[in-house]
Symmetry: C2
Subunit: 563 residues, 2 copies
C-alpha cells in the first residue's frame, strides 16, 4: 500500500473503535462512537453547524464529478420536500464500462484482508461523521425529515448502523482462521498432515438500492456489509434522494484511493427520470448481492428475478400496537402520540393499527371506553403538535405527493377521530407539513378490514375496535403473517395477555416493544442493541444486523497442501 | 422436563464434546470424537461388528413403525446395489395430519433454548454412533459403498458433519445474549433504560431431502442444523436409500421423547414408487427450510419454486484436476488413481476432468508426454485395482442403472486410455462392480467439449489435452463458472501456475487441493476443518459448514420493556 493512509495508521486509529463495536454487539448494551448532539461537532476537524450548512450550500447547483469511468451524461433534478431545487448534477454511467471498471480493484481489496477492509470502512464512516452537519442538510432536503431528525437519524444513527454492519462482517470473516495445521494420527504409521489456508472471497459487485425516506440509515448497512466483505458496491439512490448517497460515494472513493485501493470499488448509478435503471442493474450477471428498501412490489420482483444475486429486502408491512390495559395511561398516550407524529409517520416502523377492545380498557386512571381512549390519544397528538414550531420540528415535510394523497384519502375510510391539519413552515413555505390523521375502524367489518390490512404509509393510523384481547391477539397474528411488520407494540398490565402477544411475536417473528411510556419509542431502534426487523415475516427478509445479514456476502475458499 | 434424560445429565454428558467441537471449528485442527476403526466399537454400550450385523439383519423384512401420526399406509421396496431385497416397510404419511402434529412440540423445543437443543442433538448422535456398525450395513446396502467406506463415511464422518452443524448452530444462536440492560445517557436528565430479551425462534418445519449415495453424510448437516436451531425436521429420503435415514429418525424420536420433548419434531416421509412427494412437500407453506442433495434439475426447481423456504442445495458440478508438472510423479499417480477409484467415482467430489498439456509435463522423473501421463495413470489405476478383493473394497457397487449406462456410453466418447472392467464380488454375486474408465479428449475440439463440460457422474474421467498451462487455467475457470465444482485439484511445481490456479479458485469460489501425493485425497473433506463446497459456484449454494449454513435457519425476536 503506497498511500497516504497506511495500514499501520488505519489500525492505530480505528482498531479500538472496531473492538468496542465488537463488544457492543456481544453485550447489546448502549454504545455509540457518533455524537448525537449538533453542538458536539466542530472540533477535531469536524464541521460545526455553520460550516456544515456552508458545505451543503456550496454543493447546491454544482456538478458532483466523482471521477467515475464510463460517465456518459449528467443527471439531476432533485427538489427538496421543503421546496428547494437542489440543482446538483451527478454522473450517469455507461454500465458496460462502469461495471468492468468496478471489478478491476477487487483482487487487491480481497487480498487486503478483513481487518484492513474494516479499517478503511471505519475511515469512510469517520469522514462522513466529520461532515454530519453537511449530511444532515442533504438528508433533510431529500427525505423531508425535520433538521434534528435528519441530523440524528441520517447522521450518527446511520453511521452506527454502518459500523455495526462492519463489525458483523469482520467477525464473520475472522471466525475461520487464515491458516491451520491439520494432523491426523494414523496409528503406527506417520500421521496425515496438511497445511490449510482459508481466504474470504467476495461474491462480486453488490448493488445497494437506496430509498427516499432514509437514504443513509437504510443504505449504510448493506453498503458497508458488502464492502467490508470484499465486494465492490454500486449505489443506486432513489431519484429523489441522491445527494446523501452521492456524498457518501464521494467520501468512500476518496478514502479508498487514499488507502491505495481502486476508488471504483464504490460507485454511483444515478438515473434519468423514468429510466428505471434498478431493474437493468439488478439482473446483470456481475451483480451478486442486492440490498433494497422500498415497496413490496419491487422487492418481490427483485426476489423473483434477480436470481443470480443474494437479495436482502425491506418492504411494506403493517405495524400494530395492541392496547389492552395501561399501568400509566398518560405515559402511554404521550408515547404513542410521539410515535405517530415523528416524521409524519413516514417510517417503516411507525405504528399503523391501534387495536383497542370495543368494551374499553382498564387503566391506572380507571376504566376508559374505546371512544375515550381514541379521543384521549387524539388530544395527546393535538397537544404535542399544538405549537407550530414544535410541530414542524417533529413532523418534517411530507416526502412526496403519494403520501399526501394517501393522507387525504384516509379521512374517507371511516370516522375521523383526529383530523389532519396543515402546518405552515415559515422558513420553507413550500413544504407540505401535515399532522397525522386517526381514523376509527371496526375490526369486525369486512369493508374496514380492507383498509387496516393494507399498509397506508404516512401520517395515517387506524383505531381498530376489536371484540376482546384474544381477538386483538389473533388479529395481530394474522396481520404479521399476511402483511408483515417491522414493529409490534403492546400495552397491557395482564401477564396472560403479555404472554399471548409475546407468543405471537415469537411464532410470527416480529420485534416487540412492551408498555413504552417514556423517551423510547416503538418506531426507533438503536444499533448495536436493537434488531431492526426480524427477517422472518413478510416485511423484510433480513434483520439489521445479524449474522445472516453478512454471512452470505462472501465465501471462504480453502487451499490445502501436504505439510 | 419430566423425562429419563434430564437437562442436567445431558449437559454433564455432552457439554464437553460441544466445547471441543466449538474449539475445533475455530482452530480447524484435526479433531473427531467418533472413532474410525471398526474395532473401536463394542465397549460402553456400542455395538461391535457382530452385534451391528445382527441388528441390521434383524431389521430386514420388518415393518419399521416409527409411531408417527397420520400414517395411512406402509411403503418400502429397497433393493441393495449388492442384490439383497431389504424388505423393510416404512410409514407413509398423510401430510395433512403429520405436518400439524410436527408443529405441536415446537414451542417447548424453542423454549428449551440453544444449549439444551444442542445437548439433545448430541445424544441423538451418540446413540447413532453406538450403532455405527448397524448403520454401516444400512448405508452399504443402499448406497452401494463398500463396507469400510460405508462404515467410515456413513458412520463417524457423517456423525462429525452432524456435530459440526450443531456446533455452528449453537454458536450462532448464543452470539446474541438472552438479555441485555440498555442505558442511554441523556445529559442532565435521567438516562433512558430498557431491559431487552432476545429469543432465537425457529422458521418452522425443515425438509431434508436425502440422496442415494450418501444418505447420512449429506443428510446430517441440514437435519442437525435445522433441529438445533429449533425447527422440526421432516426427512424425505431417496427411495433407494431410506433405511439409514429411517433408523436416524427412529433414534431422534426416541431421544426427543426421552428428554421430554415431542418425538414428532422429527419425522420420516417415505413415498410410494413414482409418488414424487418431494415437490408436494417442498411447496407446502409449513416448510420453511429445505436441504437437498441431488440433480441440478431438481435443485434448480426447488430454488425457483419453494420460495416460502430457505433452500440449501448441492447439485451437479464438473470437478477438475489440472496436471501441469509434478514434483512427485509416482505419488501424484497413486493419489489420483485412488481418487478416481474410490466408490467407483460416485462422489460429488470425484475428479472428472484431468487437464494435461498436450506437449507433456515436467516431473521429478523427467519430462512425460501427454500419452505417457495418461498411460501411467491408467497403469496406476490398474495396479490399485488389480486384486479383486482390494478392488471390491475400494470400488463398492454401482449404485443404480443410470450410472452403469453412463459408464458404458463413456467409452464411445473418445479414445479409451483405460477400459472399465467387471469385477466379480464373491460375497454378493449380483453386485455390479466396475473399474473406472479413462477417456482421452481434446480440449480444443467442440465435440469433445460437449462431453467434458457435462457432469458424467460415476467412474468416468476424461484426460483432456490442453494447449498450455494458461489454457488449462482458463478452461478451469470456465468450467467452474458455468458448471460448478465441489473440488479442484492441481499438480504443479511452478509458483506462477500455482498462483494462477489459486486466483481462479478465489474468483470462482472453489475449494482447491494442491499437489496431493499421500494419504489425503481431493475427494475427501474432514469435518471441523475442511469446507465441503464453497456455496459460491453453481455446484452448491451452501458450504458444509459455515455461518451462512446456519444463520438463516432461525431468527432472533427481541422483546423490550422499560427497565
Amino acid at each position: 500500500m503506497a498511500a497516504e493512509l497506511t495500514a499501520h495508521d488505519l489500525i492505530a486509529k480505528h482498531r479500538p473503535t472496531l473492538d468496542q463495536a465488537l463488544e457492543a454487539i456481544r453485550t447489546r448494551a448502549y454504545w455509540s462512537p457518533h455524537p448525537e448532539h449538533p453542538k458536539a461537532y466542530g472540533a477535531d476537524g469536524s464541521l460545526d453547524a455553520a460550516a456544515g450548512k456552508a458545505a451543503f450550500d456550496a454543493v447546491l447547483g454544482t456538478r458532483l464529478d466523482l471521477g467515475q469511468p464510463g460517465t456518459d451524461d449528467w443527471v439531476g433534478g432533485e427538489t427538496s420536500p421543503y421546496g428547494i431545487e437542489l440543482g446538483v448534477e451527478y454522473p450517469h454511467a455507461d454500465i458496460d464500462e462502469l461495471l468492468p471498471a468496478m471489478k478491476a480493484g477487487q483482487r487487491a481489496w480481497r487480498d487486503a484482508g478483513a481487518e484492513i477492509r474494516a479499517m478503511v470502512c471505519l475511515e469512510i464512516l469517520k469522514r462522513i461523521g466529520d461532515r454530519t452537519h453537511e449530511f444532515a442538510h442533504a438528508v433533510m432536503h431529500t427525505s423531508g425529515q425535520a433538521f434534528m431528525m435528519a441530523f440524528q437519524a441520517g447522521g450518527p444513527h446511520a453511521q452506527d448502523r454502518g459500523l455495526e454492519a462492519v463489525a458483523y462482517a469482520y467477525v464473520e470473516q475472522v471466525r475461520t482462521p487464515d491458516t491451520a495445521e491439520w494432523t491426523k494420527p494414523q496409528g503406527k504409521r506417520d500421521p496425515l498432515a496438511l497445511t490449510k489456508q482459508f481466504t474470504p472471497v467476495p461474491r462480486g459487485i453488490a448493488l445497494m438500492i437506496g430509498c427516499n425516506t432514509f437514504p443513509t440509515w437504510n443504505g449504510y448497512p448493506g453498503l458497508f456489509a458488502s464492502l467490508a466483505t470484499g465486494n465492490a458496491v454500486l449505489v443506486k439512490p432513489h431519484p429523489r434522494a441522491v445527494l446523501p448517497l452521492a456524498l457518501t460515494v464521494a467520501v468512500a472513493r476518496e478514502v479508498l484511493a487514499g488507502a491505495g485501493f481502486d476508488p471504483n470499488l464504490v460507485a454511483l448509478a444515478a438515473e434519468r427520470p423514468g429510466e428505471g435503471i434498478a431493474k437493468t442493474l439488478a439482473t446483470r450477471p456481475e451483480i451478486r448481492i442486492i440490498d433494497y428498501t422500498g415497496s413490496t412490489a419491487f422487492g418481490d420482483w427483485l426476489e423473483t428475478n434477480a436470481r443470480q444475486a443474494q437479495v436482502y429486502t425491506e418492504k411494506a408491512g403493517v405495524n400494530t400496537v395492541l392496547v389492552e390495559s395501561a399501568g400509566d395511561y398518560r405515559g402511554m398516550l404521550s408515547n404513542l402520540a410521539f410515535s405517530l407524529s415523528l416524521y409524519s409517520g413516514q417510517m417503516c416502523t411507525t405504528p399503523q393499527n391501534l387495536l383497542i377492545p370495543r368494551d374499553g380498557i382498564r387503566t391506572d386512571e380507571g376504566p376508559k371506553t374505546y371512544d375515550e381512549v381514541v379521543a384521549d390519544l387524539a388530544r395527546a397528538v393535538d397537544g404535542l403538535l399544538g405549537d407550530d414550531a414544535r410541530a414542524n420540528g417533529l413532523l418534517g415535510a411530507i416526502v412526496n405527493p403519494d403520501v399526501k394523497a394517501r393522507l387525504e384519502a384516509a379521512a374517507g375510510l371511516g370516522e375521523v377521530a383526529l383530523a389532519s391539519r396543515e402546518v405552515s413552515n415559515p422558513e420553507f413555505p413550500a413544504a407540505v407539513v401535515r399532522t397525522p390523521v386517526i381514523v376509527k375502524l371496526d375490526g369486525a367489518k369486512p369493508d374496514d378490514e380492507a383498509a387496516y390490512m393494507s399498509e397506508c404509509f404516512g401520517p395515517v393510523s387506524f383505531a381498530v375496535a376489536v371484540d376482546s384481547a384474544a381477538d386483538a391477539v389473533e388479529l395481530l397474528r394474522r396481520t404479521i403473517r399476511e402483511k408483515g411488520a417491522m414493529t409490534v407494540g403492546a400495552y397491557t398490565t395482564d401477564e396472560e395477555v403479555e404472554r399471548a402477544v409475546q407468543e405471537v411475536c415469537f411464532e410470527e417473528a416480529a420485534q416487540l416493544s412492551l408498555n413504552l411510556t417514556g423517551g423510547v419509542y416503538v418506531n426507533q431502534t438503536a444499533a448495536f442493541s436493537d434488531f431492526h426487523g426480524s427477517g422472518g415475516n413478510p416485511a423484510a427478509n433480513a434483520a439489521l444486523t445479524d449474522g445472516a445479514f453478512v454471512a452470505n456476502r462472501f465465501r471462504v475458499v480453502e487451499v490445502r497442501r501436504e505439510a
